[in-house]
């Protein structure tokens, strides 16, 4: 069954109190693909999801799914499955009734309904729990029922609002992998909201990073990581956080406190720049490095596979992912020029050496 994409265009949402939750957002999600809306709380990602579901109305803009305009349809007529952050199961109904309600409303016959509910429950490993009430389930099981409620109806679009945020860390990781496998098997689009960048990176085909009601960048996880379009995307995506140094440009270098960072030839932008370097791109050594800085180790956090070092040079702090071993107090750090991310300090936009960007 081939389906069309979800296309949201120029969505604006102004709440009655004047808050501009969405400020001209356009996103699209291809069938069978996972689009994640990623951003800090208050960035408008949940509002966008709720508008797509029909639970809120956009002030202006349009939404199209599979070639149909959705704007004037009630939530129940949009053919979407929604997974709520707090699950929102019907507490007075059995698991089977929770899964089957939407099918019943849509007039699916009893036998077909029971077959689909059983099938969905088996797939999610909750086949034994169909007769239970939500209060008799663990958090992880409730989570599965919430997912199952969306899956059982086989909608044209899946909408998930931070579905893993109420699970403990271990369970979350398992469920993340399971979700990924689950999404791979559906031909409908998935829109997934989260504030957890690692969740976004691992689950998505495309990620839209949002802030202040706008989409800053919409790209594949790898592209997002490799070429963040703004300073905010650079620091929000990837963990541990990118180190950012602000400085003033003079001729061919950037003065950052007591440190000078060579600016690549032909880098556009104004006099004030920000340069970002990811901890995993930093090279550290006990001895001198070519083009390196002598630094003082302030902190060493062993993470197992790597050790995260916090280093200081000329009053500037940088973080580096280093080999997991003991490091001396004084050491050297360097970075490959092509791994630096340059941003205009005023506009926060990414700058590419050799024009434009």
């Amino acid at each position: 069954m081939s389906r069309g994409p979800l296309i949201a265009k120029d969505l604006v949402k102004v709440f009655p109190d004047g808050t501009r939750a969405l400020d001209g957002v356009s996103v699209s999600a291809a069938p069978g693909k996972v689009l994640t809306l990623l951003g800090p709380s208050g960035c408008g990602k949940s509002t966008l999801l709720r508008i797509i579901a029909g639970l809120e109305h956009a002030t202006s803009g349009s939404i199209e799914l599979d070639g149909r305009r959705l704007d004037d349809r009630a939530p129940g007529e949009r053919d979407v499955g929604f997974v709520f952050q707090n699950y929102a199961l019907y507490p007075h109904l059995s698991v089977a009734a929770n899964l089957g309600l939407a099918l019943e409303v849509r007039g699916v016959g009893r036998e077909e309904r029971e077959r689909r509910v059983r099938e969905t429950a088996e797939r999610l490993g909750i086949g034994e729990l169909l007769a239970r009430r939500p209060a008799q389930l663990s958090g992880g099981q409730q989570q599965r029922v919430a997912l199952g409620r969306a899956l059982a109806r086989r909608p044209r679009l899946y909408l998930l609002d931070e579905p893993l945020s109420n699970l403990d860390a271990l369970l979350r990781e398992d469920m993340r992998a399971e979700l990924k496998a689950l999404f791979a098997g559906v031909d409908a689009s998935v829109v997934y909201v989260t504030h957890d960048q690692s969740e976004a990176m691992s689950l998505s085909d495309r990620v839209a990073v949002m802030r202040h009601g706008r989409v800053l960048q919409c790209a594949s996880p790898l592209e997002l990581y490799a070429r963040p379009a703004t300073l905010f995307v650079g620091t929000f995506v990837g963990g541990p956080r990118m180190t950012v140094w602000h400085g003033v440009r003079d001729s061919d270098s950037l003065a950052v406190g007591g440190v000078r960072v060579p600016v690549p030839a032909g880098l556009p932008g104004g006099p004030r720049l920000a340069v970002g370097i990811r901890p995993e791109d930093v090279i550290v050594s006990d001895g001198p490095l070519r083009d390196g800085l002598e630094v003082v180790r302030r902190l060493a956090e062993p993470l197992g596979a790597r050790t995260l070092l916090t280093l200081e040079a000329g009053g500037q702090i940088a973080r580096a992912m280093a080999e997991p071993r003991e490091w001396p107090e004084r050491l050297w750090m360097a970075w490959p020029q092509n791994r630096l991310h340059w941003f205009d300090a005023e506009t926060e936009a990414r700058l590419e050496p050799g024009g434009g960007g």
Partner: protein
């Protein structure tokens, strides 16, 4: 969970027992006196010094009551009127409450206050206009003359009880039901009402009790014996004899009229399953 919270110093048990006894005596005393009078032989009712326990207890008053008056018809009329008024009232209140509970902005509170304000008017103000209306419609001695006003007069109470119950239901459950395609009435019937069942039962019982106990409209609109409700019927117990007040029969009538309410409350008290919303939300 690490350790139980420190407990407050235990109050002496006798203090609690004393308080409870005093309260029970205060509220049940008159009812008990009434019940004792209902089964006391006539001679002992007025004797000085007071006879507390009837010797021997008698059902004579109850027998005479049903003999002299169509008291079973009164009871049936009351049950009929109160049941329909309760159903009508709760149905309309549920619709209003469901809408009010999710109403954005300041309109919700204003409407609720208007309802409260309306319920402050003494019903006697309504008696004459209502009487004119009932007479014009030819509804004198017809149960609908009581059912409609009873349902209307109790709407504010029922709306307040249900609105606060509906408002406490997690909004996400509503939204899940909307996404699942349930129409507003279906949401009310299948989600709101079952989840708010304790409050629905509470509202229904309160409305039923009011309707059962209402006297003024019942006395005015129901003039024929076979149309009277039980409160109006009790009034005719006393007025039926000229030279004496039949205390025994009056008490018997009051006890017989009250017993159905007592049974009703006891029955539903067990049915009010609380904590139904547990497990709806995580976190």
């Amino acid at each position: 969970m690490s350790g139980a919270p420190p407990r407050a110093a235990p109050r002496p048990a006798w203090l609690l027992a004393l308080g409870v006894t005093a309260m029970v005596a205060w509220s049940l005393g008159p009812a008990l006196w009434q019940a004792l009078t209902a089964i006391k032989p006539d001679a002992q009712i007025t004797r000085v010094p007071t006879v507390y326990l009837p010797q021997p207890p008698t059902l004579e008053h109850v027998r005479r009551l049903f003999e002299r008056l169509p008291f079973e018809a009164y009871l049936a009329n009351s049950a009929w009127v109160a049941t329909w008024a309760m159903l009508l009232c709760v149905a309309i209140a549920a619709l209003a409450a469901a809408a009010l509970a999710r109403m954005p902005g300041p309109g919700r509170l204003r409407l609720l206050l208007v309802l409260l304000f309306i319920s402050l008017f003494p019903p006697i103000l309504l008696l004459f206009p209502l009487y004119e209306g009932v007479r014009a419609l030819g509804w004198i001695n017809h149960p609908i003359a009581l059912i409609l006003p009873y349902a209307a007069l109790n709407l504010p109470l029922a709306v307040w009880v249900l609105e606060s119950a509906f408002r406490q239901l997690p909004r996400e459950i509503d939204e899940a039901a909307r996404v699942d395609g349930l129409a507003p009435i279906a949401r009310l019937w299948r989600i709101h009402l079952p989840l708010a069942m304790p409050s629905v039962v509470t509202a229904a019982i309160l409305v039923f009790i009011f309707c059962w106990n209402e006297f003024m409209l019942a006395l005015t609109f129901m003039t024929r014996h076979d149309a009277k409700t039980v409160t109006a019927g009790i009034a005719s117990v006393g007025s039926a004899s000229l030279f004496e007040i039949p205390w025994g029969q009056l008490s018997a009538a009051i006890v017989v009229a009250t017993l159905p309410l007592v049974f009703l409350v006891l029955l539903f008290e067990r049915r009010i399953a609380s904590g139904l919303t547990r497990g709806a939300l995580k976190g």
